[in-house]
């Protein structure tokens, strides 16, 4: 059986758009400890990119602030928290609606939360106007097929 991974990490970086790629690469390197498929890894990177971009363009509105990304691995699950101390969200339910954006002039499409929700198993939003926003996301990394096969093989030989 695969060894159980338990691990944690935390990074803080300035709210500059060049750090969107930094956040994606960092989370991919960390999540790879769970042996995700290429597709699962792509989903995680995309969801992180959405959350981090939101902190930069909506939370801080391109002023300089700090974006925090924390992640932990437990068994087959990755938990990711991304937060800012920016302006906060007035109406969270409305913000989560597909195509809802407060920045159409910046060519935003209002699909960020929809993408996070469809690529991750769960997405939770906490926000206080004037204080900031925290996004918590979870995703289970499926066990690879191979491993199941070798498990059942072991089961047969044990009999």
């Amino acid at each position: 059986m695969k060894e159980q991974v338990e691990n944690e990490m935390k990074v803080e970086f300035l709210s500059k758009s060049a750090n969107e790629a930094f956040a994606r690469i960092t989370i991919a390197a960390f999540a790879s400890q769970l042996d995700p498929t290429i597709e699962e890894l792509a989903d995680i990177k995309t969801a992180v990119s959405e959350a981090v971009t939101n902190c930069i363009i909506h939370g801080y509105e391109n002023r300089i602030g700090i974006v925090k990304m924390e992640a932990s691995l437990k068994e087959n699950e990755i938990l990711i928290e991304i937060s800012d101390h920016g302006k906060g969200i007035e109406n969270i339910e409305m913000a989560k609606e597909p195509l809802y954006t407060t920045k159409p002039n910046l060519e935003r499409s209002g699909m960020g939360f929809t993408i996070m929700e469809s690529f991750m198993d769960s997405v939770n939003v906490e926000s206080v106007v004037g204080l900031g926003t925290k996004i918590t996301m979870r995703k289970e990394i499926k066990k690879p097929e191979e491993e199941k096969e070798s498990d059942s093989f072991q089961f047969i030989t044990n009999e």
């Binding site: 990119s49 930069i56 699909m111 993408i115």
Partner: protein, 109 residues
Amino acid sequence: MQTKFYEKDKLLLVKMTEEIDDNSVQKIRRRVDYEIERHMPKRVVFDFNSVTFMDSAGIGFIIGRYKFVTMLGGKLELANLTQSVRKIFEMSGILKLIPVTDFSETLVS
């Protein structure tokens, strides 16, 4: 990698960069619009063949270019969508509006 442009017979081919996010879109938007205005193409094809990552910034970017090209009387198409790029575009519904083609560069070279 830089965005690349090829033009022939009122067709403009735009080869998109590897990573499409808020950061890269901010850098290429003005240049893309400049090339569109300069050539006034009948057809603008965005080629996603080399794209390895795209988030919602790509949706906003394409909708913005769609409006711009349409306003100038041209048609916009998307070409060579990878599976992950297609997944993101499909979610937004814009593929109902914008045709997707398999496009070969040899058409403009």
